[in-house]
Amino acid sequence: MRIALPAFVLLTWASAAGPAPVSAQEPAGADPSPHSEAVLVAETTSLRPGRPFTIGLHLTLDPEWHSYWKNPGDSGEATSIHWSLPDGFRAGGIQWPAPRRISFPPLVSYGYFDEVLLIVEIAPPAGLVPGDTVRLAGRADWLVCIEDCFPAEAELALTLPVSEAAPARDPATSALFDEFRGRLPIREPGWQSFARANERFYGLRIDPPDGRESRFAEGSAGAEFFASGSDVIDHAAEQRPDWDGETLVIRLARSAFATGTPDTLRGVLVTSRDAEGRATESFVIEAPTVLAGDPDRVVPDDASAAGGLGLGLGLLFAFLGGLLLNLMPCVFPVLSLKVLDFAGHADEGRTRAARKGVAFAAGVLVSFWALGGLLLALRAAGESVGWGFQLQSPLFVGAMAVLFFLLGLALLGAVEIGASLGRLGGLGAPPGETQEIAEGAAVRRSFLAGVLATLVATPCTAPFMGAALGWALVRPPLETMLVFTALGAGMAAPFLLLSLTPGLVERLPPPGRWMETLKQLLAFPLFATAIWLAWVFGLQTGVGGLTRLLVALLLVGLAAWVAGRWGGATAPAGRRWSARLAALGLGVAAALVLVRAVRQPPASVPADSVSAGPVPADSVSAGSISAWKKWTPARQSEVIAAGKPLFVDFTAAWCLSCQVNERVVLNTPEVRDAFAIRGVELLKADWTRREPEITAALAELGRSSVPVYALHAPGAEDPVLLPSVLTKQIVLDALDSQLP
């Protein structure tokens, strides 16, 4: 009795003074997922009839586990709440804090680590009785993942008293609501955004209001766009935000699962993050979208991305590149054969020599036009191809290996190639032959030699060629073809000059035994090229495929021998035709074996270990030796966002210059040490098999061929591109100047 009275008074007094200070929550109860907890929390301690109030779903996750945003990205599932509310109550949609990128290459998802509060506004009806308590219930479903995923659900509820008094903030939850309200994307007037779309990309232009421009002044590399829909953009593709002082331009690759183009590109632009990578500031973006007229000019600065070469400089670079192609190991043997042919027929007369030279040049030009036209046609059809695309096809590589092998055999004299094939590049006719060759035949030979020389040149990218081609492929078709013409002209020029200048021709040594020796010697560079092509083929199709290629070479060699020995024009008719038939049969068998070889999947994916070259065992470094990692757009973004310096090596197995650069420069102890001391992250983008992401990345650097070497200094907007022929000094100087 003594306690009861004061207690009664206290209670009465307390209830008269206002609603109970604590809102009652029912415990989370049976939470099937062991890696997360869910709880419904209210921002205020009471609710007022007719006045919306805020509650939230508070998810806490075990370390390293994550849950998903409204657009979960490539995989996963967004958290959802199914409400059971009393009559008259309506729940608004979930207000999602800005997400972060979660990457499990090659896939990227969007979500949250550690904890998240999903805020929901509830609108109560007006006719509620003060003093009643209201029970808000719901079932939350979410997916909690580390790499493997568990679906999770929880039956949750929250009770709040009804009161006419203005609801007070609950001190227990106010910090939580403040923090996550702060992470909601800001919807602010003054942001102007606009998107242009073509089949593969969105070019999103964002003009922030004046007060917000400082966000982008330092390191727009941190700005990232998260699309609201899950089938709009390719989540894993690299976005390259570009800030020019007024406008942010972001190129977004489209989702492979997109159907149609929405009228508005909606999403969230994250502009700053804290040390743990959580978004601290973000803005709502709703960009009206139009289809772009010019498919390649979605991002208006495409031209400047290529270095703004301009037509004149582009043509000059292409011409120089063509000239230098003559010195590349791919072209040199074939060209030497042509020169030999010249020397052997120095007595033919000026006109004949000139005609042959012109025919050769014509062959080269026509082939470059065909290649250029083919590239344009493929790009217009939506294929992401760049220079050297033909070598990404194992069938083509295998066929080229066969061709080189056969040519080498012919040079050695090991087989007697039939008349038409042997005339290629002046192979069949021994020097000083007395047989009258028709003018037309000689001209045709030279033309076909030009075609062969161009075919053979395709694996090599000479200095200047890379820049010229990259620029050319984003220009109107006419300019592209002009650049290809300049390239062909540069390549044909030295030989054409030789053929047109009588003085030079006469200076060649007179025919003699040396020609036969030289001819046989030149077989070996051709065999070496065949070996290299076989190696590329092996990378593309595995050891099984490579062995089949070797068998095909055997069959082809046999076919050529049979045709040469018994199928020649001088053999008796019966034997001749049966020999030719046999040779044809063998040739067909070889082709079938080659085709079967192409269909073999590679035994292992060598992309990581190939092109790497041996790691020098004696390399000393200040910290740990940084090994080459496989490049992905997600990895590149992460490294850049983390503020580390980055070096990307765009390479391919069939690119000779790339291989040379890697072995002779990039993998030497001095260069590796220089990288390691500065903590440079090394990524290798292997383009041996066509990868659209790499093609797109090359395009954004203004290139369409390999090699490309990109050095990203922390905080720098654009990477520095090193030349395609590297020396140690070039690399070391670049490191010194960019990363002192």
């Binding site: 479903d141 492979a256 159907t259």
Partner: protein, 209 residues
């Protein structure tokens, strides 16, 4: 017409066609309506299956991971197996592909995979093993399940989700619109597929690295 001109024309044409053939052989992200990328994979018995082997038949590819709850939704209910049987009887070659890397969820050695297949009542024609993820990447397989329809000419007709309820709850099977069956029914009746692609849902494919 002078012979040199003929040769010229021939060379140009040959060059262009060779280039086209080369480009066609090269891989690219699969486009709906374009030829489905060629592949060869072993099944759990070591037999090799190539897409080209099934030219002339309807082919369904199903990306599979027994450990994924979204795949579980379709298998625990018997939904997937019944579709496999139903369309198998209509002559559709249904190939399940496991692109999980060794050590990751969904990967099993062939013998264990056979046990898993038994336990789940797997009714596909074959379960193909793609531990390097090569074929998964070829088809842009992002999730399990993800479904692909290829017609008898080898054209890719559908690539995307199995149905329109991206949830792992078994109850979501009720009332779900199945894109795969709708697509197969339309295509096998000679009509164009009305929904040729959808964003697939499920667990991520466990690629290496």
């Amino acid at each position: 017409m002078p012979r040199s001109r003929i040769v010229l024309a021939f060379t140009v044409v040959a060059g262009v066609s060779l280039g086209m053939a080369a480009a066609a052989c090269a891989q690219s992200s699969p486009a709906i309506g374009a030829p489905a990328p060629e592949f060869t994979l072993p099944d759990t018995y070591g037999e090799s299956h190539s897409l080209a082997d099934y030219r002339g038949e309807w082919v369904v590819l199903e990306w599979l991971n027994y450990g994924c709850p979204y795949v579980g939704k379709h298998y625990d209910s018997g939904n997937m197996q019944s579709l496999q049987r139903k369309y198998g009887e209509k002559g559709v070659k249904w190939l399940a592909i496991v692109s999980s890397a060794p050590g990751k969820q969904g990967y099993y050695e062939p013998a264990t995979m056979n046990e898993q297949n038994e336990a789940h009542g797997q009714s596909a024609l074959a379960v193909l093993l793609d531990p390097e993820g090569v074929v998964g990447r070829m088809y842009n397989a992002q999730t399990t399940p993800q479904m692909v329809i290829i017609d008898p000419d080898g054209t890719l007709l559908y690539n995307g989700a199995i149905d329109d309820k991206p949830s792992s709850r078994p109850a979501s099977l009720e009332g779900a619109h199945n894109y795969l069956t709708a697509g197969l029914d339309e295509a096998m009746a000679g009509q164009p597929i009305s929904v040729p692609t959808t964003k697939p849902y499920g667990c991520s494919v466990k690629y290496p690295g």
